[in-house]
Amino acid sequence: MSLDLNIFFEASPDPGVTYAGMLLSGLAWTVALALLAWVLALIVGTAVGVARTLPFKWLVMLGNAYVEVFRNIPLLVQLFLWYFVLPEILPAAIGNWIKSFDAPWGPFFTALVGLGLFTSARIAEQVRAGINSLAKGQRNAGLAVGMTLGQTYRYVLLPMAARRIIPPLTSEFMTIFKNSSVALTIGVIELTAQAQQMNEFTFRTYEALGAATVIYIIVALTVNQLMALIERKSYIPGLIKQER
């Protein structure tokens, strides 16, 4: 086998686009999808994770149920449910409105919601564990100086919990990029889809999939570095000593 890197600069069936351009366009969709889904996952995951630590029984149960459902159904199945099943079981007006979004936006938004909520359940689990890992005393300390429960979360519990869960969050953040490739099954032409197309057009399997692999690795390393930077920035002097 010999690698022919010139293939990337040859024109693809898309007028005016090289195969490199195809892959980069795929990368752009992958990054957009993963980042937006990540934002959604952080917001929903934090809310659900916090809810599961509040002194309100029904909220805790609701949060637990949410996590179990979204974490335990395979991502691919969830995506199919959102894309093919949901518009059919909703009232016709809403279903048709959803279906009226043409490619690429319909599949993209569906993948965004599917991937975001799937990941949010995993983040909720980390957030809950992070908050519970703080001594009960911290909650009491916040309340005892007169903070409301909301203020105690905002100023005391969440800042510490966030720092503690940076390592598992890093791994979730890297995973969401990898998981975003599932979106190709509902028609999002992201990186893996483009690599597959390139392979079909050129039969250059090693070059096409090799390029996709290298790009995914670069993305993962970037994410890793970014999170390491955040971890360094949020470092608290003397904290190791503080942990009991």
């Binding site: 001594a135 005393g137 911290q138 009491n140 300390a141 916040g142 309340l143 005892a144 100086v145 007169g146 903070m147 409301t148 203020q151 100023y155 005391v156 800042p159 510490m160 720092r163 608290i236 002097p237 003397g238 904290l239 190791i240 000593k241 503080q242 009991r244």
Partner: protein, 242 residues
Amino acid sequence: MIKIDNVSKHYGPFQVLKNCSTEVKKGEVVVVCGPSGSGKSTLIKCVNALEPFQQGSITVSGVSVGDKKTNLPKLRAQVGMVFQHFELFPHMSLTENLAIAQIKVLGRRREEAMDKGMKLLERVGLKAHAHKYPGQLSGGQQQRVAIARALAMDPICMLFDEPTSALDPEMINEVLDVMVELAQEGMTMMCVTHEMGFAKKVANRVIFMDQGEIIEDREKHAFFETPASDRAQQFLSKILTH
């Protein structure tokens, strides 16, 4: 100031507090002691509603703690509390630890809060450490900061839950000194502690608890010289001889 009237508390079938009644008048220092598990922490946490109770009533400066309509954050802001494990906010510098509740709860201006914090750090002898984080201090230093954090809110009374029992012996006195000074200035204090030297020095009364009950609640000389109950006698001989 603090009035505890016939308070009972259950954890499921287990009764932690049994008809507890006592009072801490303005300017009084009351020490609470008793064996482990006797309910001391629970009782003191009921005073600022960190623990709910099912029967009886507690009022702080006339405000009913158990009343659903009571503004608990406002009440707690007036009641200083010091914990066994300090519970400083580890992600904030000492100045921020002292300022945050002043700003967010009392609505003080930042400079005013910082100023007040600095004065209190100076008072507990830690002004030079103001920029440090709790994890960079010794236990005794952390506990002094925790006292300063409570004082920053200008509390009308202070609750202490075994403030020295997590400290190495050589650090106990630096914390007790701050507490003695506070007591002598007339602060109303309810202290769970087994430091009987502290009790002898500044307490007005000593409460002895066992199995959720207040067994003795007496003027300190009477308590130390002639404890009425066998249980208190045994307890005293145990903690005073080691």
